[in-house]
Subunit: 470 residues, 4 copies
């Protein structure tokens, strides 16, 4: 069956959401809340052509794997008249991306994670980059403010390097929830799931790095490779129960309950990026109207999709006991943002917490600062940390302050986008080198030697110059 754009355009919200991908029409209403990247980004293309946003970040079989045949509605009837120049693969933005891919420096000139990020930012399609680097609220290019604040937090911690300690043998490996990890880092699950993550899984498997994923689709995992499952609980508790038990059966080693995503943040950059794209393409007509209220309502008071919505009513009293009752796996709480909740998590008996401020709240304290406060106020609390890592020294600062390991999200995405699996491997090599060099210079032969006394938070403003070209 063939559909006209006029017909498709009617299915433009969460009650009925259709999209066009490569001239095929799909009903994604059901899928909206299963989408690992969240429903927000799909809804922006509701009733429209989503090809340019879909193709660059999904594996070719993503549609088949996720949609039932009945949700594949048929072909597009009309080709939107004279707009043939905006066909898939030929938009101005796509041509720019192709050009930049050819100009990438060879991998052996990549010295650090910032080099990788710079390449990725050039080769990524505009809307994808906006999605990756979007912060919330008043974020602006080139660096969203929450991210900038997180990075600055690292710059405020200085080291007390120790000398005259044998470091010829230096081992940066550690254990995370009992599983071996070659470095005190892991792949955090936040954003990367929207990307075919097979290559990340493969590279991490070889390098003994643990990955936290948010789908149960982990074909690329090596037999012995531990994966953690990141759970977004929905209001339909039975559905979430099913997902958790599936994960346990598939061999996932832990459940990371996301506790800071009770509502979609205020992602203005996502919205604006589409307008920019349209302007680049030379169209003067803005062909959709973003309705932030609608998005809010989706998780708020709107009745329509409540059943599948992210659960806004998590609670200590009910959610943790429920999770314990349906799985034997260790529980991680992902998204703790203050000392008080870290203490409640300990009381609730969870196996780990993940300190992060990715959830969308602007002006939440940088995770490293939360860690610093936990260290000062509740030094017996164990945790992990996430956000703003760019250097091996950043990882070491977090470990010194008591974090067992540090989750990295964006850097893996950038490495993958820029150079594929080889990029991910390169990135892990860089981190290994930076971490071991720094451990030696600190007089630390093992992760155990990284102690709180080795870092000091100073009260002066860090000197941070722009990353200029040599």
């Amino acid at each position: 069956m063939a559909w006209t754009t006029n017909e498709i355009a009617k299915h433009k919200d969460a009650s009925s959401c259709w999209v066009i991908i490569k001239d095929e029409v799909y009903d994604v209403t059901e899928f909206l809340l299963k989408h690992p990247g969240g429903p927000g980004i799909i809804l922006k293309y509701a009733g429209h052509d989503a090809t340019s946003a879909f193709v660059p970040i999904h594996s070719p079989d993503a549609i088949q794997r996720n949609l039932s045949p009945s949700q594949c509605l048929g072909r597009l009837a009309d080709t939107k008249g004279g707009e043939v120049d905006v066909q898939m693969g030929h938009t101005q933005d796509e041509m720019r991306v192709e050009r930049e891919m050819k100009r990438r420096p060879p991998l052996n000139q990549i010295l650090n994670l910032t080099d990788i990020e710079n390449v990725a930012k050039k080769v990524l399609p505009h809307p994808v980059l906006a999605f990756y680097s979007a912060g919330t609220d008043d974020e602006v290019l080139p660096i969203p403010q929450s991210l900038a604040r997180n990075r600055r937090a690292f710059d405020r911690f200085f080291f007390h390097p120790r000398v005259m300690r044998p470091v010829s043998i230096c081992d940066p490996s550690t254990k995370i929830l009992g599983y071996h990890s070659s470095l005190p880092i892991f792949v955090s699950g936040a954003a990367q799931a929207i990307l075919g993550e097979l290559n990340i899984t493969r590279a991490c498997g070889k390098a003994n790095i643990i990955q936290m994923v948010c789908t149960t689709d982990s074909a690329a995992a090596l037999p012995s490779q531990p994966l953690f499952f990141q759970l977004y609980k929905v209001t339909d508790t039975a559905a979430s129960t099913k997902v958790v038990q599936e994960a346990e059966q598939l061999g996932y080693k832990a459940i990371a309950l996301t506790v800071d995503a009770v509502v979609v943040g205020n992602r203005e950059r996502d919205v604006k990026s589409l307008w920019v794209l349209e302007q680049q393409e030379g169209k003067t007509q803005v062909y959709f109207e973003w309705d932030p209220e609608a998005t809010t309502n989706l998780f708020g008071s709107s009745a329509v999709n409540r059943r599948n919505a992210f659960d806004s009513d998590l609670s200590w009293k009910e959610t943790i006991p429920w999770l314990r009752s349906i799985t034997k796996l260790p529980i991680i709480l992902k998204g703790i943002q203050c000392v008080e909740d870290a203490m409640l998590a300990v009381e609730a008996g969870v196996e780990a917490i993940l300190v992060s401020n990715h959830g969308g709240m602007v002006f939440s304290l940088p995770p490293l600062e939360v860690l610093h406060r936990i260290r000062q106020q509740q030094p017996d609390i164990f945790d992990k940390l996430e956000g703003g890592i760019r250097r091996g020294t950043d990882v070491i600062k977090a470990v010194c302050l008591g974090s067992k390991a540090v989750g990295l999200g964006r850097p893996f995405l950038y490495a993958l986008s820029a150079y594929g699996e080889a990029g991910v491997t390169k990135m892990l090599d860089v981190l290994h080198r930076e971490i071991t060099i720094s451990m030696r210079l600190l007089g630390a032969a093992s992760i155990r030697d990284l102690t709180p006394e080795m870092v000091e938070r100073v009260d002066w403003e860090p000197v941070r110059q722009r990353n200029t070209k040599l």
Copy 2:
């Protein structure tokens, strides 16, 4: 009767002040101190044509409503010779304004209050913009320093978001002096009265937002819509008594006594903006001489206008008892700037205080910092706060620190100037969305859940990047 410009030019100060508006001549000597925007701006046009400054910000019937027939002196006799190109509606600045009005982005592309402000700053006539955004003393474009300091104050407060709290139902409404308010904000009365505020009143009435106004002319108010009256006490106490009693009879719900306007501040920008305007028009001759001493004297030692001048001799011992004796309405003190005066206000038994630094004193502490000190030193004091609000998170920070509500002034003016009543409604929608999203992300289902423990003032310099174009 017709008047020559030479004749008119003689009436150029507070002892006799005439202005030309649309070729009609008016005696505004009496009106000077009734002018809600203060006499300063009128005096700058004393003896001259004030059309270009008057028209854009006043309703068409503003003259009839405020001047008696005897104060309408007649027509202008001469048309100033060759200066026909500077007629009303055809100055270069006015043509620029018309051009910019056509270029405004559609309302559905407005995502936040800064977007609105940016539009307003383009479509406002030069002298009006200067008046709105003028700070005092050493203020310079693009952001006056007091305002910049107020904004930075917000950036220094960080949140401790709480998780695992039910927030599917989230209610941002509150009560202000017992009256229902759909959000913890209100319209503060500072500057907007110079603008036909009917549209603001109408939009606020529909949205259940309380407005503080400084004239008794509130035809647009809905029957049940509570309005507060902002009082500038003059030295003629009988005159002020009459005004207050009029306000009570007309149904105003509270009297906000302005306590920080005992003298006109040092508004250099106002003055300079006129010179700029003249230069834009291609005139080389500066046709008036600003005499700051005269302005000072007006409220100081000059005998001429003392009777109607703002009262520079307010005191705790006399002013509050006088106000109590003439009205039963609750009393708000507007313009408290330090903890000590907040305590004196409590002792004096006033119903509310309004912490703000709009009064003209440069280097007074940002209101949020005053609030923070009150919270630390006198946590039982109730108050409101004003100044520098641009985001829902700003409002929430103030509420967390103990403010019942937050007054916004300029943002309403910008919204009105840019898009009329629809702009004001849009702005309230934006704030509603931002406040409820943030409340949910903080784990707060109601205003009561916003507690001091949720904010922390950090000692580092906030990262604030310029608002660049995407």
Copy 3:
């Protein structure tokens, strides 16, 4: 008698120092250490033509008043061949100055001290500007660092304005060492003496502002006008005794002993400015060699001029008793830079101290900070303050912290250079307006009402934007 440039060039140091002014040759060896501006600036022209540096800042009769006839050696024999284009009054720099003088804005457009400074910086000859604005050591344009640090110090102090206090009558006058002063300011003696200060004296006399001068040549003083004498003690104590007694006889009201000028600072800018000037004139040859060692030695170990050199061996034990023994006038110590010395000054019984860091030591604390420490540690010490004042609020901050009055140096020089006596009067008008407006806004009806509780030193970085054009 006529002298050749070759002959003159031999007298190029402190042992024999000749200069050419308007084609006349003078022996200024004796005068070097009497020069109120210090010998350094003269020595830079030793053996050369000093016309361009001398003329703009001295009164026409300055030579006659200060040199004996025997020190006027005669005319210049040769006119330096082809260099006629560099005659007095026709250098490129002088032509620039003439041009800028014509472009000055009228006085009624001057709104503040920064406006005046900006005009002055345009109309001053290059070397004079360098001398005025020179700081020490690593100072660079546009603002020397010590000065910038002093200014920033003011920005860190915020006010606690008080409301509900009668301020219709507001009196900013005070007493300095018992003498009436219309404002809590005075003219500090540092640099201005090199300029014909008659106009400053005249304007201050009319405005009731006390002046501290460093010559005994005060013909312009009104009969009742109090002047303070700034003493640079030299190693020849008898000579200094004579100067002090002369001052007392002439009616000066106090002796301000300079205690922070035991050695000439490292004024690199002075030196560099000459090179710049030469380059502007199109000469490629650098015709003199600055020898900083020589300057140092002048006040150090070099035997030649020790007799007249500034005394490097001041001491509490000997210097104060000596001064007491030769004069009945009250003693001020000028150049106190820390709390410890402020206490020693009190113990030594001097009548006043002048906190300043003009003496040449880079990285000495900004005077306002010293005052703040004195206030905290030794609140019973009385003092005056100097440096970095640009606004009435700056003066008020210093007075709140306990300073009786505030000395201004450079601003007077700028006002004088830009507009002559009228400029000085204008500047005093501006300060009067700014001080009284701010006092009213602070709720202070008199200087007594300005208390330490009214200021607070904040720990955040001040927002200070560049002074952009409107």
Copy 4:
């Protein structure tokens, strides 16, 4: 014998390392770890022509002195075809250097160390400059971040200058480990050894400044001139024993054991500078691949060169006793970076420590801050300090905080590069002048008078403007 570039290119790593210098081929495999500048820089040219990097910073006889005849392999057979334009002395970079040498300002226009540095930065070949100014990790031009942080640390300390103290006689000399030093400074051994240091030694000998060198080749030393020997201990302890005993026999006065160089830092700038150079020369082909892992392994787990590698297993228990057992010379520990290690050094009985963060660890505390903490926590510890000195006031701040003397490294290199021995002498003159002027202005007649009470660390951000041209 003549070698082809193809043959030479095979010897490209630490197992067999050949380089071409002026068309001669050398085997530097053995020499790699004797190279005072470390093996890293040589390895970058392994298998290639190193002429352009070698010539500018080595004395003509450096090869003969350091290599045995058997290590001089013979001539280069081929001249690389068409690349004759890149011959020694004719690369674009070398031509630039020649041009800049002619443009140097005369020495009498050099007023301070920054002037010298600016000249040096212009006349140094690109790769040499990169090596000198390279920091570690995220360092970027124009100022590496560790260096910038060190300099800022100085700016945060302010003085309390004392007045009324006799300072006509002012003596800045001191004793370092019992040896007379004309100033409280010495030449630190870090980087300069890679440069023919004869000129530095000669200038220091005349000026009575002690030098710390890292070779035993000190032909230029005056008979009575004390030199300290900087030891890089290698894993072959017998070899290090031999070197130390050689140094003692040759008359060196102390052994400075380098304790912060257990691994080569992450010198990305070194690597990148080569790419830049190649691009300047117009070549598109990157002809070598930097392998940071290889460099790491060199000092890490790689078996090949372990015997000669810097010892990564220094320890308090074994290293100090070993050193005591083989020499009677006093021991200095160079590279202490925290208070804890300073205390351990005292316990271990060493004669002096050298606080520095040159070792490569990014985000180690600026040495002055470490000194400040030692002063506060362990005021009885004696030490020296290194890093970021540019002004006499910097030296004085360190001395006030308890440092006996301050080591300068880069400034000597810059002075030497810019003006040879005369430049070094000039630099010492500048420091002498700056230190004595500042001492006098502080009221200090001798080094003993420089006390901790004279400095105060402020909590505000230092004002530091860019070094603009006048």
